[in-house]
Symmetry: C3
Subunit: 129 residues, 3 copies
Amino acid sequence: MGVTELIIVLALLQYLFFGMLVSRARTRYGVKAPAITGHPVFERYLRVQTNTLELLVIFLPALWIASAYIAPVWIGTLGTLYVAGRFIYLRGYVQAAEKRSLGFGLSALPILILLAIDLIGALRLLFAR
Amino acid sequence: MGVTELIIVLALLQYLFFGMLVSRARTRYGVKAPAITGHPVFERYLRVQTNTLELLVIFLPALWIASAYIAPVWIGTLGTLYVAGRFIYLRGYVQAAEKRSLGFGLSALPILILLAIDLIGALRLLFAR
Amino acid sequence: MGVTELIIVLALLQYLFFGMLVSRARTRYGVKAPAITGHPVFERYLRVQTNTLELLVIFLPALWIASAYIAPVWIGTLGTLYVAGRFIYLRGYVQAAEKRSLGFGLSALPILILLAIDLIGALRLLFAR
């Protein structure tokens, strides 16, 4: 192993970094806690963090389960695509809400593939014995 | 195994589906990103997704740990109750905020049972040796 | 083992408890669902829950992976610091938004340490063979 753990750590560090960007945007655009609205750029940073949380919660278990079924090179490829897609999502969404689709799609695609692998794997474990 | 993995995948697919409903409601009710308020029906869909995220983060590790202590048939039963409860929660909450209690309770109950199993299991591992 | 599982269960129960506080604050301060704003104290309770979710999603996998690399006593120490830090965060933030920093720092520190351990561990698995 090692690849799965590395991808997980990179995805967690990326998410932590997105949280730091929200914190910085909160200061920079004068949105005082506990408010979560008040400046459009802050709100876009917050949505990047929240949407990443929403995907991360699917990505991590899906990747972990899939690592029992597919080779590390595929785990690494799908994981890298997810992390890269999230950075593209960040860059696009912060520029304008309309520019969030590409990065979203690139990071959602590996999650859908992982879920399909997990589903096939679980069904084979259940029925193929 | 296989049962635990299958329940996890089903819960993740359900959560992904709830996210797609939020995305559709965003378009249908004209709530432009990054706004998260603006139409009561959209807000109810968003709360369904958010509340499911809040429970999912407890459900997944609680189920995973419990799978070392209880038989697959119980994992399957508790997991199915959670997923079914979440669909009832969705249907109720989207109709009216007051109708969200039944589904919430049905999906929270298996989580509480799983946490109790996990707690007993962890304490036995720590003290019973 | 047992220590890792116990810490995970305690962190999950704590998060569940924070969710119950939000639910109580919703009733007490008259913020009707699906609204998530409307009273500053309710909003601070909600932010405590949300921020705890944001950290929990990093903490749980980081702790789980680290449990393969470091002794249970360290898992217990870092885990206890996280849980204690979150209670201090709750107490501070509910009093005033400005008082949230200490608890945040105390619960973020063990997460950063765990991520560093995970990163070193994953890189050693990948390269040291």
